[in-house]
Symmetry: C2
Subunit: 358 residues, 2 copies
């Protein structure tokens, strides 16, 4: 069976690596000639909204998924007319727009930071009156890795921030002094089967995820799973859904969700009984989901901007290197490292050694 | 970096799957149009001894390895003139010929079953006089999965057996009533670093490997590693070397070796800290070798001849399916299943369930 993927980056690449052992084949639709998934998949090089390319893709595959949530709705509609596209269009529509997403959280009783929609400078001022400082202005669409966000700390910041984000439709959120950020990788299959991975605790540098550590028996696990189940079932979602939360004391605030495999779940390749990539494929194919338990104590470090000395990294036992075949470039995610150790202490020691190498 | 592989079957496919995360690319040289490694590698479709094809391969890659030991010596020689080929030619030469192989075992003080070279009916009779019945006649070259072998139980069998194996140069071996067959996956890198996986116990059906179970702290481990080290260092071997042994009481008799990744090491993909495929690549690239310890209690079952119901297999927790993308055909290895459990008992129970499904 052949699967089509919109997007040919590292997520598509890791989906393909997980899918070959299930006997699957892959075709990616991706405008970049040097798409890093292309060496291990068929590659249709075209824009995502090119109707001819979409038709060509539909003719070659039996099912379509995607690796990023800003897939054009029209592309999903065109493909959906002739074959299944998972996750479904409404999951995409929700995740694509921060306002829809936050309102859905609210409707489903999932706690969030306070937020208001912003259409212009006037609604921004009104939102600031409600929320106070500090607050963060975020474009409703197309933001990722901290892009399209501006922090407001005083009244003087409003106009600059509004211009910096391009006067695009936005939301203003209270800037939460959270204790930690955690994320949940959840999966729902075509048959409605659910699975949840252990929460991961995430640390960012310059707005880009740097470190995810798999948590064991975390007290927030049950609530996060409950929230995820509400979302998965409300959306009739199929595939992986990743949800980022801020924790403050006993509060777990949903920050955002991604209807796809997610960077904070890369630790699952070696670290869980079944990887998020394999479970995404199992879910969209209607196969039984694989176990999600952590195999050991595991963490993942992103490689950003420059390649490390592979020999030094691999010289550390229990580290696993994942290079994406992408040219190094500032702030670009070009790989990650998974560490799998038998104790929390060994894991933390190994992470310290690794940080000196990257 | 691009690696060339002679052969484009499942071993090449699993090498490629293990190599992409190291940032590698692959080109296979393989005559079959439907080579199962081809969807995830460049594919030069030509005979292994086609000088133009070999030249084309050499121009595209920086290093060559292979997935089977009957690679033509001339091909290795041609490639070796312009780039490194690992494992080295002498490992190939030894493994390709049962007589050379057995004599090497003997020279290095590695116990074997009694054996004699057979050139014709007369030398076969002389060999039988020395060894007695039962004995097994094996062609010196091109035997695999029980092919090219005839068991002799009485004087009447000699002529038929000799004709059945095509009157090819052969050896006669004592047919050992062994207690178990075990195999060792050993690795030696360009730098001379050594690593050994835990022994696996193997069970065959109709001469084809069916089940390999990873052993824990087996009393034969140290001796098997010692034997492997003698071979690796004598051959100046680089890459994985697999050695099959028969055990009778306290005797460990080397049966044969393969200078490549091996079916009895497929359990290492999920079952060991680093897979045999990744360690083979690390070895030939001169990277530090990865840990070889078993992650849990692990076994591998080969899928032979027909595809199982993937849904039923994946419905059993802790089972991992590996399909090779090959058309089902009688006696053909088309995939394998790895089972990873937290106890020996859970593993044996799971294997029983699996056997009912395949």
């Amino acid at each position: 069976m052949k699967i089509g993927i919109l997007g040919g980056g590292q997520l598509a690449r890791m989906l393909a690596l997980a899918g070959y052992p299930l006997g699957l084949g892959f075709v990616v639709l991706e405008p970049a000639a040097d798409a890093c998934a292309a060496p291990l998949a068929g590659h249709i090089q075209a824009a995502y909204d090119d109707p001819d390319a979409l038709q060509q893709l539909a003719a070659k595959v039996e099912l379509v998924t995607y690796e990023f949530e800003s897939v054009p709705a029209a592309a999903v509609e065109q493909l959906g007319a002739s074959l299944p596209v998972y996750p479904p269009a409404n999951s995409l529509a929700m995740a694509r727009d921060r306002s829809h997403e936050k309102n859905l959280f609210r409707e489903l009783g999932i706690e969030t930071a306070p937020f208001f929609e912003v259409h212009d400078l006037q609604t921004l001022r009104l939102a600031v009156e409600q929320i106070g400082f500090p607050a963060v202005l975020k474009t409703r669409t197309l933001g990722y890795d901290g892009k399209g966000q501006q922090v407001l700390r005083a009244g003087d910041d409003l106009q600059v921030a509004w211009e910096t984000i391009g006067q695009a439709p936005a939301i203003l959120e209270g800037l939460i002094g959270f204790e930690r950020e955690v994320s949940l990788i959840a999966v729902r299959s075509v048959s409605g089967e659910l699975a949840f991975y252990p929460l991961a605790e995430n640390h960012h540098e310059n707005g880009i995820l740097r470190l995810s550590t798999c948590l064991h028996d975390d007290p927030m696990q049950a609530r996060a799973e409950n929230y995820a189940q509400r979302l998965l079932e409300n959306l009739n979602h199929v595939g992986v859904l990743a949800i980022e939360f801020f924790q403050i004391g006993s509060h777990l605030l949903a920050n955002e969700m991604a209807p796809r495999v997610h960077n904070s779940g890369h630790w699952t390749i070696e670290g869980a009984e079944t990887s998020q990539f394999e479970n995404h494929l199992r879910a969209i194919l209607g196969l039984p989901l694989g176990g999600t338990a952590a195999v050991k104590h595991v963490a993942m470090i992103n490689l950003i901007g420059e390649l490390p000395d592979a020999s030094a990294i691999l010289g550390l036992k229990n580290t696993h290197l994942h290079l994406y075949g992408k040219a190094p470039r500032i702030e670009r995610k070009i790989g990650h490292i998974t560490v799998r150790e038998t104790s929390e202490q060994a894991l933390q020691e190994r992470l310290l050694q690794l940080k000196n190498l990257i």
